[in-house]
Point group: C2
Amino acid sequence: MSLNPKRTIAELKELRALTGDENGAQRLAWTDTWLEARNWFKSKLDGLPVEHHYDAAGNNWVTLKGESEKTLLIGGHLDSVPNGGWLDGCLNVLAGLEVLRRISDEYKGKPPITVRLVDWADEEGARFGRSLLGSSAFAGTHSIEADRGRTDRDGVRLEDALGRCGVDINRFPEAAHEQANAAAYLELHIEQGPVLEKLGLPLGVVLGTKGVERHAITFHGQEAHSGSTPMTARKDALAAAAKLALEIRPIAMKHPDAVCTMGSVKTFPGIVTAVVGRCECTLDQRDLDAKVLAQMYREAQEASKHFAAEEGCTVEWSRIWNIEPIPFNPTLIEFCDQSILEVAGVSHRLPSGPLHDAAEVARAGIPTVMMFTQSLYGISHNKIEDTREEHLELAVPAFDKLADKTMHWIQGQNKA
Amino acid sequence: MSLNPKRTIAELKELRALTGDENGAQRLAWTDTWLEARNWFKSKLDGLPVEHHYDAAGNNWVTLKGESEKTLLIGGHLDSVPNGGWLDGCLNVLAGLEVLRRISDEYKGKPPITVRLVDWADEEGARFGRSLLGSSAFAGTHSIEADRGRTDRDGVRLEDALGRCGVDINRFPEAAHEQANAAAYLELHIEQGPVLEKLGLPLGVVLGTKGVERHAITFHGQEAHSGSTPMTARKDALAAAAKLALEIRPIAMKHPDAVCTMGSVKTFPGIVTAVVGRCECTLDQRDLDAKVLAQMYREAQEASKHFAAEEGCTVEWSRIWNIEPIPFNPTLIEFCDQSILEVAGVSHRLPSGPLHDAAEVARAGIPTVMMFTQSLYGISHNKIEDTREEHLELAVPAFDKLADKTMHWIQGQNKA
């Protein structure tokens, strides 16, 4: 059974038909549709000489035992956001399956090293607002006490939703056992951004995942009547926020790959006839360089204080979340670059703005790299998310070459 | 019974105790508390030689018949916003009552002209979003078909809420009969703004109510992932809105009394991890000069188109509401100025940014003027709304002098 990229595309479409509707993919983690996707995936393993089990965090491990216990990990996630795209997460799982088939076939079921394919549980965090849930348990960076009481919009607790799927959140730490013998981790993913499309390139090497500073910023001014309050007597919290919304752009654009986003603005009282007394906004800042990230955070804080003072307002910051930049393994980056060059003739290196399970695996100290395929329109988490099939047909063999190179690299380490 | 401003203050406090709570005044129109306030007011008429009735729109008319049918109208409103202040609206009613008592006393129940005190129904529009409801019925500027189906936040229809209070919206046009013989209209109100306080003046003459242009403005950009979308590849609807939020200020500040306010901004999808794809905001522009108002509206539109283009967005405008500037009567403005000078020694002329029932009365062609008392902190529609009692004690006699001058003016017209 040689590598068959068209089969990957056919299986992606089969999964879409099974677990999507007219609004897109509906494989929300810990729901029946997600379990159905996992059962369907299990059926695809029939005939392969693999063992499979779910770990303590619900990650699904498919193991092709090799001559050596040294292990190559390939991962993805079947879960999607509600009304999601047909490729986000499951491309990795099904391309990984195709690679596993090729390796099993080439080595007659016994490759020189062990190869494991993992379907991470709840990468998206779409239901409970906690992304990378399964991979964080694997990496030992879980936050059980903070997470168990999270509720979905129907009030169902995270702990209970997991329990219904046979997962006990108290046992999450046991998922770290799966790290044993892991020598490298590979993940293929759609870019979810416009960079490769703008460059006209099918594939790219991911240098790492950007660090993130995520904050809630509240400007406090003075609510006042829109008709009776002269312009010069106002303490307009929106004006201060508007200045910051514009200022974060030059702050980001000093650096080639940095991004700063104000994604949410809420005005209070938020009525047409009142000057805004309180303005709550969010700031998301990302860069692959920790120093750049720290500088942008500092500059945005200083700017916010300056604008608040200009407008007679005060400002408060509250960190929502942050993560350090996670650079990928230099050797694997080279392998990925070579694999893309061999298949597509041209490659490109770029950081990943979105987080991925690969970031958690890298934090666990396992050499990691990701490969991106071009996304159309830079759109993801939406039913119109798409990638040209000709690019998917390049992605599978390029990812397979990366797996092959990495396997031989691990094998060489083993001998040394 | 001579004019007793302290009684007015005592009655305002009595009303506050009866119809307010720890969060402020609760005399929301068409509720039991409002009806209770009206019953309380009715009890204050005992012993006065007046007739009173509710018109077809629920306005409460108290009539002191004079030698002539020519009529001086004095008006206010007992209804309040939820958690409102203790003076907004009811100061006018109770100061008007004190003036009525003085006139009745002075002329032994039969003044040379007829004097009527009106408590307008639902000035605030706080429950159904339709302000000046009763006075618009009086003026014949009602909008019955647009209003009958309005609902409050519990889903109760305006038509049904009125019906419960014995008011049939279909009979609104009959309220215009109350215009008969009206020769002038006077209204005392708190400023609801900071102008008199900043000038250290207790009282001011209102030149008219500013015209209003009120619009919903929507910028359409492209929702995109905050991590994967480079700064230069964004179509950020919030950025365009932020530029407009800042630009409306110089647009207003070219003119001495003009105001422009962006009171509400809503971001979509409005999450920390997405560039804003759609931004809905509101604009409220006011000036006493129709030409200035038209210029500001035009400039804001042009600016919004320019900013949308700069940000790769489009923009749509939708008029929420507008009203022309309504200048008050020049003779009554002079009377008001003289009355304030006689009582307080110093006066000031200013336009009203907020709308008032007086605007509707003026639109009906009845000579109208308003007097303002200083507001503390420029705050209204809030339980901390306040005015110094020494200023209230000046307001009542100044308003009484205005009523006296106006009565003699009407009387003179009658003779002529």
